[in-house]
Subunit: 317 residues, 2 copies
């Protein structure tokens, strides 16, 4: 693995792309080399996260967006993120049904990513997969979450533009949903507007937004769609383009790309530092510290300071 | 700050407790010293996380549980976690209303914790606050989430016993909620059972559970309540006690306490290592790396390896 695989990927070979994502997702030892080679070809795709409560019609909206982008001749990648591990099946099945719909269209690449066991794994692997799809020449990448778990909010927060999909009739639920999800939105899409009741949801969102301070920041837009008929979908495409333009600009919302780079870099650096400390003090030393903390013989702050000092980092407790 | 404050806290002084939590929550420099002194007095309280979708009646259940524990003469701490920062107000208000209800009862301590800006801050600060309430002699600590954001799942996952509150009439939503939330539950409480329709929700949960493998693990229990009338609440108290007993035992679910200690220790260690690397290479070096990554001149893996090597950790890229 390594060079030839990435060369084929950069030439747009979808089998090479799939293989590279699998290697990166499984945290194979070839991961750094693959990413290093692909990285200079990244940064061109617009990366859009799509999330929202169950039943809001996220998948229908993603499908409608995919059709809209295809009409414009854009190549589109879709990553469906499902962090459920003990309980699985749903997402993968939906993925296969979708695959058939776009079967034979090399302009649509669909990939579902499930949790491989370790916490935060998805949040780490998804940006890598995004980079590879980007490097393979897809101009739009939609990252769609299946549920509302911790990993998913983290994953979608790693996208440049975050779309939160809501539906009429949520009533007071909007107020409660705000935590976490409402905060990361750049666009609110009220879907299933054929049902009626969109005004009420829009008023609720506006009310929430009025509590925030948007001076010098992107003020989230509110849009309406009926994804199943395609109504309003072009408006979403336009709003995504508008936010992308701001995101890539030099001021205000333009800082987002840098913030995303910061989070990713610091996460990888911390992962690496921990591995090095484990190598230096030995895994058994770490386990002993955990035992002492669990049995209340030492507090976690003192234990962390002691281990850091033993690894030659810091002045000790 | 330091010793006298913690001594008063250990003696059960609630003003000292409040002050200590504020210091710890704001990541004051006295945080390690406070935690170090309080830590030997911790590990006695049962720590119970309460989460669930908006509208499930989490607050009512928490209030009903508080009354049930007070009848048994137990001292109860309640932490209401609200990660919303740009949008705020709701949780704090609810908190004040609640405070009044238990006003003058030194056996109930209520604290709400909101996001202080940096991601993951709440997940870090909540276990510290739990430790301090524990050290102040409260035997039950309920950690209640306000919404369903990323931080909140993380926070509740740090509790020993996790209660997920659901309601009849959720229909297919249970299927979608599974991601993240369903996985961390030890107890499912179907609340608002006076509405009818609880059988359907219970069947849905059972079906989900049947997909999991529970060999040698705690199989989540399903209970029914109507928190507003108190119906079924004693059953929840009993199930929490049963799970706590298993959690503190030596086998199976007993590993949970150790797992929690592990996550907390490794998180603190990584935080410390990053600070030390920043001290060694300089903050400007980290910012330069982030710039290079954002402009695609270097990939994040290579950049992390380079910075680690410059800090004297690892062999470089």
């Amino acid at each position: 693995v390594g060079l030839p695989l990435v060369e084929r990927l950069l030439a747009g070979d979808l089998r090479a792309l799939a293989r590279a994502i699998t290697l990166v997702e499984s945290a194979s030892s070839s991961r750094p080399a693959i990413l290093k080679e692909a990285y200079p070809a990244t940064g061109r795709a617009a990366v859009v996260g799509i999330t929202g409560p169950p039943g809001a019609g996220k998948s229908s909206l993603v499908d409608a967006l995919a059709r809209a982008y295809r009409r414009r001749g854009e190549r589109i990648g879709i990553i469906a993120v499902d962090p459920s591990s003990a309980f699985s099946g749903g997402a993968i099945l939906g993925d296969r049904i979708r695959m058939q719909q776009h079967h034979g269209d090399p302009g649509v690449y669909i990939r579902s990513m499930a949790n491989r066991g370790h916490a935060g794994g998805l949040a780490r692997a998804t940006p890598d997969a995004v980079d590879l799809i980007d490097a393979a020449g897809f101009s739009i990448i939609l990252v769609e979450t299946v549920g509302v778990g911790q990993d998913e909010v983290e994953v979608v927060d790693g996208a440049e533009t975050v779309v939160v999909v809501l539906v009429p009739g949520m009533g007071d639920d909007i107020q409660s949903l705000k935590a976490g999800i409402m905060e990361i939105a750049h666009l609110f899409v009220i879907n299933k507007c054929d049902r009626g009741g969109a005004d009420r949801v829009e008023t609720d969102i506006q009310q929430l937004l009025s509590l925030g301070s948007w001076e010098g920041r992107w003020r989230p837009r509110i849009l309406r769609t009926t994804a199943t008929t395609g109504e309003g979908v072009e408006g979403v495409v336009g709003a995504i383009a508008e936010h992308q333009e701001k995101t890539r600009g030099a001021t205000g919302a333009g800082h987002r790309r840098r913030d995303l780079s910061r989070a990713r870099f610091l996460g990888l650096l911390q992962e690496r530092l921990l591995l090095e400390v484990r190598r230096r003090v030995g895994a058994a030393r770490l386990e002993a510290a955990i035992d002492e903390i669990a049995s209340r013989r030492i507090d976690p702050y003192t234990a962390a300071a002691a281990v850091a000092a033993e690894a030659g980092l810091g002045d000790g407790p």
